[in-house]
């Protein structure tokens, strides 16, 4: 019988790192405060003591250096797992991400590959200081050569992280910090993977398909439950990977319902909702019975926390968006 532990999402990530460090000597964890401090969110707690400073590495404060040296390590066949402390601080490393991490395989015609996984907590809702709350996953989904994974449950966080670390290509692994400690789940102690590129249906329904991911999965399910009491049945699909998107699952849910709403906390313009809408137009136009709704953050810089609750999609705004699609 498989042993399990009752873990939060951030504990499951820690457990996933622990498992992969143990399974593969080529795995190293690196970043600011990931070593002795155990990570500012405790995602690497205890790993430094167990695996030592050559495998759980405190680096100088330099994001470009962190990503760029991980690129070099990965080119030599290691599997580095660099952490950027908050996704809002990824930009000094952005050049390394788009110019090299995404392109090394292509540029070297397959001689060099980068089996690296760049982790970063992302998203809003925790009353954090400026630049600590943005959702800019669309930047990375836009970049060919990268995979972009966003877990929303502890079990899947561990499995998706393992799949990312073992993947032959570079992965941006964005962790929704709002739900780092929101709930617990039984997580197997043994290694396992959850496949990249596959969406998960969180709730079955015939009236409307609602696509979401990350921290927005919870308020979306809450809205779906409320509407369920009124006889409106939502099919809620958690994308889990936003690059590559699971086109098949997206189209299937839409064909079943003919109506769709996409929910993300990232700004509307250029966000994933637009991409999903385009997929539905390309693949299932004749099934469409209503305009496809978008419930998203607004196209404004993410506010300081006094107003952040007005920025983030609430269950009430999600309900409104779903009703609009259903009542069209």
């Amino acid at each position: 019988m498989t042993e399990t532990q009752n873990l939060t999402l951030v504990q499951a990530i820690r457990d996933g790192l622990h498992t992969e460090l143990r399974e593969d000597d080529d795995v190293v964890v690196m970043g600011q405060d990931v070593g002795k401090n155990g990570g500012v969110f405790r995602a690497t707690e205890g790993l430094f003591d167990e695996f030592g400073g050559d495998r759980v590495i405190d680096t100088p404060l330099a994001e470009s250096g962190i990503v760029g040296t991980a690129v070099g390590m990965a080119a030599m066949g290691m599997r580095p797992v660099p952490e950027i402390q908050f996704s809002g601080f990824m930009y000094p490393g952005f050049d390394q991400i788009v110019s090299h991490m995404a392109r090394f395989r292509t540029r070297s015609r397959g001689r060099f590959t980068l089996p690296m996984t760049l982790r970063a907590p992302y998203g809003g809702g925790i009353r954090a200081p400026e630049h600590h709350s943005e959702s800019k996953e669309a930047f990375y989904a836009h970049e060919a050569g990268l995979k972009v994974v966003i877990p929303s449950t502890p079990y899947e966080a561990k499995g998706l992280l393992a799949a990312s670390i073992r993947d032959p290509d570079p992965v941006i692994f964005l962790e929704p910090k709002l739900i780092y400690r929101a709930f617990r789940e039984e997580v197997p102690e043994e290694p396992y993977t959850v496949p990249i590129g596959e969406a998960a249906t969180r709730r079955e329904g015939d009236d409307v398909a609602v696509f979401t991911y990350g921290a927005m999965t919870r308020p979306t399910l809450e809205a779906a439950e409320t509407l369920g009491e009124e006889g409106i049945e939502c099919e809620v699909v958690d994308l889990r990977t936003i690059s590559p998107l699971d086109r098949e699952a997206i189209v299937e849910a839409f064909e079943k319902t003919g109506r769709a709403v996409v929910v993300h906390e990232a700004p509307k313009t250029g966000g994933l909702a637009g991409e999903i809408t385009a997929i539905l137009q390309e693949e299932a136009l004749l099934y469409q019975e209503a305009p496809i709704g978008r419930v998203t953050g607004f196209d404004v810089p993410y506010p300081l926390y006094a107003l952040e609750d007005y920025y983030l999609p609430s269950a009430a705004r999600i309900e409104d968006g779903i009703l609009e699609a259903v009542e069209f």
Partner: protein, 367 residues
Amino acid sequence: MTVFDRAYDDTVRVLDEDGEVVGDLPDLDDESLVEMYRHMRLARHFDGRAVSLQRQGRMGTYPPLSGQEGAQIGSAYALDADDWMVPSYREHGAALVHGLPLKQTLLYWMGHEDGNRAPDGVNVFPVAVPIASQVPHATGAAWASKLRGENDAFICYFGDGATSEGDFHEGVNFAGVFDTPTVFFCNNNQWAISVPRERQTRSATLAQKAEAYGIDGVQVDGMDPLAVYSVTEAALEKARDPETDRPRPTLIEAVQYRFGAHTTADDPTVYRDDDEVESWKRKDPIDRLESYLRGEGVLDDERVAEIESSVEAQVADAIDAAESMARPDPRELFEHAYAELPPELERQYEEFAALHDERGDAAFLED
């Protein structure tokens, strides 16, 4: 000989740990020295209150400054009102000296956008959270001043960790190339969250990084407000003088210590020893200046008590003022993103306002 003609590890000192004079005293009258002391007490008291507001849920995450008052107040005192300050996120004390009301600092950390808006006439840039990102701004702003033939100086604050970032090197390099009137003031408080100074760089000092950019570099005892004042004053004077025969930019490394956590979200006991903290507390910049001023007969128990109660009242008033501000109007989300709202954003605003008019906060906030 100037204060810059010395080895990088030859730390400038004026007062020793006991407040005894060991260097050249700056030209400051007694009242200025008492004002400087009062500001340091004010910054320390403010800091303690801010940490406790955070603990009580009345403020968000806050970065404490205790231990760093000597560097902050000493350096800011050297500025002219027309000079500009380009801070990171921990310079509440320095910004206060340069005219930023405490209420603004409180509002910012309470999550109000208004906190980032310095009053007109207060030459302080907005807080810069991403590490070292403000360094090139300080170079560019000083460059603008130079190009326009103005004689203002610019001081840029950042920490020891920032010297590992590309932005630091690019900003300081530009300053060297274009000889801008910029003082780069490194608050080396020994710790970038959990990473010690020795792990940021193999360089023996941070001051010596100036060498590579061809500008002046000097190390000062950051726990010594008078030494900090002297060095900053000399650097600013040189920055303002287009005829100087030295490089106008300077890198100052102020060696100091953060007594508390990186922010209220951090627990420093995980990564550093109490002994180390205690040994630095014996160098407390406030005690040091107080000992000196008592020795000079400028401060006595009565004056110190007076200062204590006045700073307590000033901080209490600032907290009242900040807490009596209503939550910002949610419509402010859309203000200041552009000079004029683009049509799509105008549409989002209308939708938002209509929903708020109809359903109020219930449409946005969880119960």
